[in-house]
């Protein structure tokens, strides 16, 4: 099958959905003139015009706020955040408006929109350009949150997000943009929101991850296979609503659980997963749960420190070994 980059996969998703539905448009900083920092918008204005691919002022509250307003008026906007780190600027629009409008107005409207949010560590971008903050949004009812780990899912989840009538935050890891992966050209790629995927079957331990840490999870699984530990790797794909069923099913089978994400470990998505299992699957467990995540500091600049900050494959392997 043909291989395309993660960035290209998101681009195709946009193209297909913008062709399919005139109501879909995109707005964000520096997306039209040069195609986005990671090339993820390249060529869109050429096909769809500058009326549907809007470069905006540096005004994050206006980017998300106008997207919400446009959604209320029947459009299906996609708002690009440039870096997920800038979501703090428009956090009010996200959690007090976007997430609550449907509910607090008693279902009078829908808010069909997508926020694209490139996150994660990328070549020493330092404290304000390297964050993974998906856990905040897990705690906010009224939105859905997805985080693809590969080009196929990147395309399928973005297309599904654009079609969904709920507001969706699409976290895309910056370091994944150049990753290549198989994405069929012939058939339509749609990945259902709300369903985790067993990326690799196994029987001794469950590793749950998502986004870029899936690479480490799979690598760890391969390494451990050689030492006789069979790991099942679950790709969460959707962070909210979290797919409890798949999680519990896997843990029931393997009896052991490790969760890995790049975001800070404390208060991260891993905490919620561990809690779910401690509440509803405690009896399955033959060993303590392990969480692997970013250290409890801002992301430092210097490459040596950045490396020390970031969770890695060895952390996963060691975490699992400690369970036996």
């Amino acid at each position: 099958m043909r291989k395309i980059s993660f960035s290209q996969a998101t681009l195709e998703a946009m193209q297909e959905e913008m062709r399919r539905d005139k109501k879909v448009f995109i707005l964000g900083e520096d997306i039209a003139s040069q195609g986005g920092i990671f090339g993820q918008f390249k060529g869109l204005p050429k096909e769809f015009g500058h009326d549907r691919v809007l470069d905006t002022p540096i005004s994050e509250t206006a980017i998300v706020g106008t997207a919400i307003g446009a959604a209320l008026a029947g459009m299906r906007p996609i708002a690009d955040m440039h870096f997920a780190d800038f979501m703090g600027v428009c956090m009010d629009e996200i959690f007090n408006q976007m997430a609550k409008i449907r509910y607090m107005f008693g279902g009078q409207t829908t808010v069909p929109m997508v926020i694209r949010a490139p996150d994660g560590i990328v070549r020493s971008a330092a404290a304000q350009h390297s964050q993974s903050i998906e856990a905040w949004f897990l705690h906010i009812p009224g939105i859905k949150v997805v985080a693809p780990s590969n080009p196929y899912d990147a395309k399928g989840l973005l297309k599904a997000a654009i079609r969904d009538d709920n507001p969706i935050i699409y976290f895309e890891n910056k370091d994944l943009f150049r990753q290549l992966g198989e994405v069929p050209e012939e058939e339509e790629v749609l990945v259902p929101i709300g369903k985790a995927k067993v990326a690799k079957e196994g029987k001794d331990v469950t590793i749950i991850s998502y986004s870029i840490m899936m690479q480490n999870a799979l690598e760890a699984a391969t390494l451990m296979e050689r030492e006789g530990i069979s790991a099942e790797v679950v790709d969460l794909r959707t962070i909210s609503p979290i797919d409890k069923e798949t999680i519990l099913k896997s843990v029931a089978k393997t009896k052991r659980l490790l969760i890995a994400h790049e975001a800070v470990k404390t208060g991260g998505v891993g905490a919620e997963i561990a809690a779910i299992v401690a509440e509803e699957g405690l009896d399955y467990l033959d060993a303590h749960i392990v969480r692997v995540g970013g250290k409890f500091t801002p992301v430092p600049f210097s490459p040596t420190l950045e490396k020390a900050y970031r969770p890695n494959t060895a952390d996963i392997v060691n975490g699992v070994k400690g369970m036996f």
């Binding site: 509250t61 446009a70 008026a73």
Partner: protein, 319 residues
Amino acid sequence: MYDKELLKDFYTTMVRIRYFEEKIEEMSLKGEIPGFVHLYIGEEAIATGVCKNLTRKDYIQSTHRGHGHTIAKGAQLDKMMAELFGKKTGYCKGKGGSMHIADFSVGMLGANGIVGGGFNLATGGALAEKMKGTNNIAVVFFGDGASNRGTFHEAINMAAAWKLPVIFVCENNEWASTTPYLEQTSVKDIADRAVGYGIPGVIVDGNDIFQVYEAAKTAVERARKGEGPTLLEAKTYRIKGHFVGDPEMYRTKEEVKERFNSNDPIKRFEENVLSSGSLTGKELAEIREKVMLEVKKAVDFAENSRFPEVEELYTDLYV
């Protein structure tokens, strides 16, 4: 010269707001209306004068002080009242309340508990209509206090740079909660801020419905023609406490009384139409009676409605 029907319309809407709110105040003080309630009494001419220029396809975004805007845009009193009571027959099925009153069916896209939360949403509505190629427009109402939120700036800049059909209507009632606006706002006339966006900044007497109506008309025409936004400042005064129950220790009762007596927009309208002979005292009285009845019915409706069932907690969240 104004059409007689329009004048009756002006009066009906202003009185509808006034009577609705007087009832709300009473009910809220009695403890029958839960939550925070902010009254619009004394500012009726603004919502009314602006909204009479709009169709149901135009959008408005409102504030925490949203009953007046909602009524002026054409919402029904009964469903509003029920919402304020927290009943399931309310516009938001009891999930919103006063601070989240809305009637999407008439283009009233919501009150907002976040001061300054509506600027960008209105701008987005305007963007959508522009993209769709209609000539519908959006209006956002906001207070003097809200004019100091960053969202004011981001929304107006974007709207002006993109020439979007949106009108920014500042209701300068001289107070932001307990704070006199001049203490925390760096300009006397908020309309002056229009200069920084290259758009018209217009000041009107917000208690004179004719001035409001005319200025809004110009702004609406401009917007419909694709010439971009206007910043319209309506000078008024907040007659009631910030919310029902406010001890109002920051100003004297006399000050308020005097401002109200000398400058009640409804009284001014009555004097105007009576002295010019455009409407008769009888006509006005008929309108008042009709509205009084309507408010009474709204209360009955609300009181006879049920509270939402516990299971409804989970509905209306996701599609």
